[in-house]
């Protein structure tokens, strides 16, 4: 090989290498460009041109006919001006491209919702362009970062699609800046996943973990974004059902049982009956079955399970329930029907409210009466004082003048005074009665006027007593008789009344009356009709608890709650921090403690658009095709050209031309070098790529191909050893041998083509039919 290359044949080899690289690069690039163009046209035919479509609706293949009809109708009806195009079916999914005349957030959202009604609907893909997609955003992370992403300059609007947030951009030029800004925003956040390791305890106290993380420093904020998925929803449902159960327990028909030397458990059933029952008898239609919910000591409580309608009242005998038969007597029970009581209360409240207006008017009137009563009170006091003086004048009472002309046993009564006093007393009594009635009515609504009411009643009693005595005096004054004792009593009564009246704080009472009037004015402003309506609505909206339904519902609720699985114990936090990932892991592991694994992920990843992904994919396909073409071209070149060189060199080595075994090994080296050079160079020029193989891999692959070619050269390009031996014996140089003997006899390749014009003896293929006689032509000289 050395002798061959030293002898000038190297120029031939170099020429072949250059031509191979040049032509091979062009060929590989052409093939890959053609393939790329083909695929790109195919993709454009499938997904449309840039920005042509906004949404791809996927439909089950078997429903495509119905889908196309329904989709067309829907678009014509709800999205005038929209266009639709049916595309290829992929993986049993028919695809429809939809283009909106004006795509904005509301329209696209409306379209995605409307699309779910299309028969066979199997999903959709948002393909609005230009856009930047942030993918992998958790359900509870999205509300935090979405507003920030939406505020990026250049973002027209934002669409949320599962775990993706699509930032629709103003233009293709702004998309790159939007993507960079989005990445900057996302880099500020870290999604931290803390979960128990192995049998590690679940951390249910998330807040304390958050506090510890914050206390560790270096974080701007920490938010709990744990999503338990179905478990969380089930927990919330369980919570709601527990409240529902509590509601049912509070308002369903119930029974309270006092046990007598009996031990019962919740979940057992008892039978209540108004009539004595024999153990072993069947549960009758009139018997009330109670499903116990509580049993403690000598008391038990339960929900009435059946019948739905029951009229039993009072105390009922309670029996154990043995299957469908009545068991032994366990105690006595009574029904509690909260719903009926509520209904009655609501009705009464409604009635009261209905009368409230009248009562308010009456009370307002009463306040006016009270004012009159106060006036009458003043008048009464005056009258009492006058009476007292009158009595004193007649020698009765503590202030009586003993010198006044009275004879023992004889009293002179001023009947006119007594009559006017009686009238005053009567008026005072009427006023006080009116006052009492009003205060009594007000005290039904509030206890504010109770002191007033009790005072008023006291007055009333005294006034009534005084009035009766006055009547006696009046009747006594018309006739003779000894009324001195009676008059003494009257005097004392008058003194007492006067004292009581004088004790009354009229000013305070006036203020109270003023306050009462103000309250009554407010009451008068109430929308009594509206409140009544609400109460009626509450009453009519009360659930009609049938005992059996309530008991069964509670059982189902308990069963559901029991079946709910616990969450996995994983907690997720969204941390805003400029710390590095390693720093955060260290800090959070320290806060979380042992037995927990900490993983840190980005809150989202900025993805290129569908078209960019397709372009990227096509680019890699192009690189792959280029790589494959380069490999094929190099392989062909090795087989056609360089196998001939190697075979010739190896043949020459047999006959001592170059004369050492190193020559044979050199042939392998030549093959490896040529293969590495060709494939590496073409790969670089055409930017080939094969399964992420880089330049070194291509070099190695080329070398391997060259080695294999060198090993197989004698079979690929058989060289006549005898001819080589003869040429050596004739004194031909290795180059001359190659040019005149080996290459012309080898494979028709670049080397053969380049060699042909240089042949001294023209192309006279040995495969032609022999012809005897006649001169064969030398390529350069004619005979």
């Amino acid at each position: 090989m050395y002798a061959l290359l030293r002898g000038g044949f190297i120029r031939d080899v170099v020429a072949v290498l250059i031509i191979t690289v040049f032509a091979g690069s062009i060929a590989a690039a052409t093939v890959s460009a053609a393939a790329d163009r083909f695929f790109e046209d195919a993709v454009s035919g499938i997904v449309g041109d840039y920005g042509e479509y906004d949404l791809i609706i996927h439909v089950r293949q078997e429903a495509w006919r119905e889908a196309i009809r329904a989709l067309g109708q829907m678009l014509r009806r709800e999205f005038p001006g929209a266009r639709m195009k049916q595309s290829v079916t992929v993986l049993s999914r028919a695809n429809f491209f939809v283009s909106l005349p004006h795509a904005d957030e509301a329209t696209v959202t409306r379209l995605t919702r409307a699309a779910t009604e299309v028969p066979g609907f199997a999903g959709y893909t948002i393909v609005i362009e230009p856009k930047v997609t942030v993918s992998g955003v958790g359900a509870r992370v999205a509300p935090i970062i979405r507003p920030q992403l939406a505020s990026i300059e250049g973002v027209r609007f934002v669409l949320k699609d599962g775990g993706n947030i699509h930032l629709v951009c103003d233009s293709g030029d702004s998309a790159r800046a939007v993507a960079q800004t989005a990445e900057t925003i996302l880099r500020r956040y870290h999604l931290v996943d803390v979960r128990p390791e192995g049998d590690g305890a679940q951390d249910s106290d998330r807040q304390s973990l958050i506090d510890r993380v914050i206390a560790g420093g270096g974080v701007a904020s920490v938010r709990d974004v744990t999503v338990d998925g179905a478990a969380q929803e089930a927990r919330e449902l369980s919570r709601a059902l527990r409240e529902m159960k509590r509601f049912i327990q509070a308002w369903a028909p119930q029974a309270v049982i006092t046990l007598k030397d009996a031990d019962v458990q919740p979940e057992e059933s008892l039978v209540l009956s108004a009539t004595p029952r024999r153990p072993g008898s069947a549960v009758g239609d009139d018997d009330i079955v109670v499903a116990l919910t509580e049993a403690s000591g000598s008391m038990a409580r339960g929900i009435v399970a059946s019948p739905d309608a029951y009229s039993a009242t009072g105390e009922l005998a309670a029996y154990a329930m043995d299957g469908e038969t009545v068991g032994s007597l366990v105690g006595a029970g009574r029904l509690v029907l909260p719903d009926r009581e509520l209904g009655s209360s609501l009705q009464e409240a409604s009635a009261v409210l209905g009368r409230l207006g009248e009562a308010t008017d009456a009370m307002l009137e009463a306040t006016r009466g009270w004012e009159q009563a106060l006036d009458a009170y003043e008048t009464a006091i005056d009258s009492m004082i006058k009476l007292q003086r009158a009595l004193e004048r007649v020698g009765i009472g503590a202030g009586a003048d003993p010198g006044v002309g009275t004879a023992p046993g004889r009293v002179r009564i001023d009947t006119a005074s007594v009559r006017s006093l009686a009238e005053l007393t009567s008026k005072a009594l009427v006023a006080v009665q009116t006052l009492e009635a009003t205060a009594e009515a007000a005290s039904m609504l509030t206890s504010h006027y109770d002191p007033l009411l009790s005072n008023v009643r006291l007055w009333q009693d005294r006034l009534s007593s005084f009035s009766r005595k006055l009547e006696t005096v009046q009747s006594a004054a018309s006739g003779a008789g000894d009324v001195s004792a009676l008059l003494d009593e009257m005097s004392a009564a008058a003194a007492g009344i006067l004292s009581t009246l004088q004790e009354l704080d009229a000013a305070a009472l006036g203020e109270q009356l003023e306050a009462a009037r103000s309250d009554l004015d407010s009451l008068a402003g109430l929308d009594v009709k509206g409140i009544s309506k609400q109460l009626e609505a509450v009453h009519s909206g009360m659930p009609n608890f049938s005992g059996e339904g309530a008991a069964r519902s509670m059982k189902l609720i308990d069963q559901f709650i029991e079946e709910q699985q616990e969450s996995s114990g994983k907690v997720e936090f969204l941390i805003e921090s400029d710390a590095t990932q390693e720093q955060l892991v260290t800090a959070i592991e320290k806060a979380a403690g042992t037995g927990r694994a900490v993983y840190i992920l980005p809150p989202g990843v900025v993805q290129p658009g569908v078209r960019s992904e397709v372009r990227s994919l096509l680019k890699s396909v192009k690189g792959t095709i280029s790589g494959l073409a380069a490999c094929a071209i190099v392989l062909v070149s090795l087989m056609l050209d360089h196998s001939t060189v190697i075979a010739g060199a190896r043949a020459m080595a047999l006959y001592g031309e170059g004369a050492s075994r190193r020559e044979a090994l050199a042939a392998y080296g030549y093959g490896a070098c040529v293969g590495a050079f060709l494939l590496g160079t073409i790969a670089v020029v055409t930017r080939a790529a094969l399964a992420s193989m880089g330049f070194p891999a291509f070099v190695l692959l080329g070398a391997a191909m060259g080695l294999v070619t060198a090993w197989a050269a004698p079979r690929l390009s058989p060289v006549s050893a005898g001819e080589v031996e003869a040429c050596i014996a004739l004194g031909l140089s290795p180059s001359e041998m190659m040019r005149e003997v080996v290459v012309p006899a080898g494979k028709p390749g670049t080397l053969s083509l380049l060699n042909r014009p240089r042949l001294i003896f023209g192309d006279t293929p040995s495969s032609r039919a022999p012809s005897k006689g006649g001169a064969s032509q030398c390529s350069q000289y004619a005979t």
């Binding site: 001592g656 006549s720 003869a726 050596i728 014996a729 004194g731 001359e736 005149e740 040995s766």
Partner: protein, 254 residues
Amino acid sequence: MLSIRDLRKAYGSRHALTGFNLDVEQGETVAIMGPSGCGKSTALKSIMRLVQPDSGCVEWRGRDVLGMCRDELRAFRRRTGFVFQQSNLIQRLSVLHNVMLPQVMAGEPVERAQRAAYEALESVGMADSAGAFVRGLSGGEMQRVAIARAIISRPDLILWDEPTSALDPILVVDILTLIESLSRSLGATMLVVTHEAGFAMRAADRVVMVDHGRVVEEGSPARVFSHPTSLLGRRYAACVAYSVEAQKEKACGL
């Protein structure tokens, strides 16, 4: 003229030459005979350095052939003819071009080479087939062309490596006759490896018996075949006697 001293060559564990010695005078025709595998062809190819001996010395006109550089060797080869057992013609070339090849490669003008080729073909009786392709020739014709190629440059030394072994008996006689005539006409020094004792007797100046990689006997054909001193010589002598006796008997009609 040609001096070979203690030539040794081993192919692995097989020793082809174990101290081959031979001196050949100018113009001498030496027949090298011996059983197959005794090293005859190896010795011949060693002279041309088609085989690289392990040790020894080959001198041609006082020049060490084994020590020649590449260009000297090539020049030596051009002036030395070699006829192979299998002719080894270039298949893609015509008869004429095969014969012209060494001259043209040596830098001779094509016309001159062509003329010389025709003369050489003439001398071997193949001038009429100058334009024919090699593949269509018979074995004897191919060997004639090979001979013409070997003698075109009028070499001083012609080496013949069993030139008739691959031919049928009829052609053997033709070729041997040709070689015999060339030996007389060319005046070149010829070493002919052959199994043909008759040829050796008629055409050779000297017979060299080779056995186990070295010369065991040499001398005039008459002496070697009538009074052999070596076992190999005796065996060959017996073959010759048998042939002569057979011819006599045939002539007598027995």
